[in-house]
């Protein structure tokens, strides 16, 4: 870098040439490349390479002793159509959709409320939203197990009210409760960012133009906060679909979800090709939906 400051270089510098400009342009394009390099390398080694391994394995053959990296076939992908697998995919998707919808319904009013507060209150609320992150995700899930357990606060409360000994643990409801609890902040934050950016005068203008409170929401606030809605939905739907920890701790044995099914393939069933195929399909679905979002004029999260 310092070489350009040497006298001989500065003598040439007084006449600009197309070559000089081209060199400058190239320099501009490469700006910051070296600083980004460590992150690039990290991602390459720990994301791209394992991903390639997963893809390769998904075409391999399963033998009695493990996986044989020969006899390439697409049997693993064919098995995605099995009734059992289809049920698991459907169940996982349904739970993920329900989780996303509940998060959306809970987070939107909250994010709107937050964005209309004074800056001080806002920051305080943001901290409260983030507080759960300070505790380990696993610990929080076990906390839910205590709350919902047979002798926990939930069943005692429902008994006291007279609903009998309610049992939620190891049901789909418990899984949804846990997923909503775990992923709600991922919905609140992008929604808040999107709503906060909307000019409040647009809402005033709509009210001035005879819109009721609901019409104002429907025609102005909601369309303008759509980037936040989509971003939040992706951020909640994607991890919910592949969730492993929460269903494992709060869900029942009868209600296998995609995450645990994949784990089973790798650890118990020893069917690595099928596990790899499932993982890859899951990832492809998520990737496609994300790309669609960004292509459809989605802005930064």
């Amino acid at each position: 870098m310092t070489a350009t400051l040497e006298p001989e270089a500065s003598i040439d510098a007084d006449v600009a040439t197309p070559e000089f400009e081209a060199a400058r342009e190239q320099q501009k394009r490469r700006q910051g490349l070296f600083m980004a390099l460590p992150a690039y390398l990290y991602l390459f080694v720990f994301f791209v390479i394992p991903l390639v391994i997963v893809i390769v394995y998904s075409f391999a053959t399963r033998t009695r002793f493990g996986t044989e990296l020969s006899g390439w076939n697409i049997d693993s992908y064919r098995r995605l159509g099995d009734p059992l697998v289809r049920d698991i995919l459907l169940r996982s998707t349904t739970l993920a959709v329900i989780t996303t919808l509940i998060c959306l319904l809970l987070a939107y009013p909250f994010a709107y409320y937050m964005s209309t507060r004074s800056e001080k209150t806002r920051n305080l609320m943001l901290v409260f939203v983030m507080i759960p992150f300070w505790t380990n995700f696993l610990v929080r899930n076990y906390a839910w197990r205590v709350i919902l357990g047979s002798d926990g606060p939930y069943s005692r409360l429902s008994e006291a009210i007279g609903f009998g000994e309610g049992r939620l643990l190891f049901t789909n409801v418990a899984v949804i409760l846990g997923l909503v609890y775990g992923f709600l902040p991922f919905m609140i934050l992008p929604l808040y960012a999107a709503i906060e950016r909307i000019d409040g005068r647009l809402l005033e203008a709509s009210r001035d133009l005879y819109a009721s409170g609901f019409q104002s929401f429907r025609h102005v606030l909601l369309p303008l906060s759509m980037p936040g809605v989509v971003a939040g939905s992706i951020l909640v739907f994607v991890p919910s679909l592949g969730a492993y920890v929460t269903p494992a701790i709060l869900g029942g044995a009868k209600t296998t979800l995609l995450g645990s099914y994949i784990v089973t393939q790798f650890l118990s069933a020893r069917d690595w090709p099928f596990g790899a195929a499932l993982s890859f399909v899951l990832m492809a679905v998520m990737l496609t939906s994300t790309i669609v979002y960004f292509r459809k004029g989605g802005r930064t999260l």
Binding site: R201, L202, E204, A205, R207, D208, L209, S212, P223, L224
Partner: protein, 375 residues
Amino acid sequence: MTGARCERFSLGEGSTGGFVVTAAVDIKGVTKRFDDVYAVDDIDLSIADGEFFAMLGPSGCGKTTTLRMIAGLEFPTMGSLKIFGEEVGTLPPNKRPVNTVFQNYALFPHMSVLDNVSFGLRMNKVDKTTAAKKAHELIELVQLSGMEKRRPSQLSGGQQQRVALARALVNEPKVLLLDEPLGALDLKLRQEMQGELKSLQRELGVSFVFVTHDQEEALTMADRIAVMHNGKLLQVGTPEDIYERPANRFVADFIGQTNLLDAVVEDDDMIILENGTRLMAPNPLPPGTKVAMSLRPEAVDIGPRGTVPAEHQKTSLEGVVESMTYLGHALDYTVKIGWIDLEVRADAVHAEQRFQPGDEVAVWWDRTSDWVVAD
């Protein structure tokens, strides 16, 4: 003469004569408090149907808050607010027969020009074809035909301004409120739009209430002007009233350029300046009252010492030219009169003589062009 002049010392709506017909907007004793700050402090104001009314004042004077209260975007802490005789003080904005052109327009960025303009009609459940037809009419009225499909971001500032205007007017409001509508435009466009707004208002016959901090804009456009300062209404009157007969020192100083000379009232015809000079300045105030005499630079004549016309002897002062600024059409002199500098504007074309700094001169004015305001 004195009787007529008396009138100027009374504040508020009375000074321009009452309106027998129902006022378009009638504000009585309205106060708006934000925490401990009185944004609007007990104002009375009546705006006539079909009037082009300006609310003028420095930023933070309460003019925008007043406008927002009329629109329903802010509710008064106290007082009565009527639109065509109907009390609306606590009605939400969508239940009021008024529409607003917002500062920076607040156009919906996700809608086309057509959808923006027809928004109010659609919210009012007007059927789609009628709404579209009326919207097209308004778009034509503001000369934006052919731009219906564009988004606001694809329009220039002046075009956005027109969309905002069409979007408000399409609903046929009984009163149109405009919040610094021309503030974001450059000078030339602003002057052009001033004329257009004025003729549009005449054509439609709807009351326009517009807020501005630009006194020139208010003077050129408005039928009547309300001057506000610190939440209080200082004066309501025609541009001539406000400019030539300001109610107090603040109004005199805020509207246009003026010289303010501190003085004390001697009797109903004379005042005494700080250095003891007696000047003729008819006024209705009791002797001994502290006042300021407002003297517009363009109302003052300048000439060599000893050339003061006989009839102006008692409305003249002597001084020394301190500086001269050439403006093309006019000459601006600063004349030092002992303890104070006086700004004098002389017509460049008709001036018999031009003066240089250091010249000893006399200045005089018509006895009707000075104006005494209570301190």
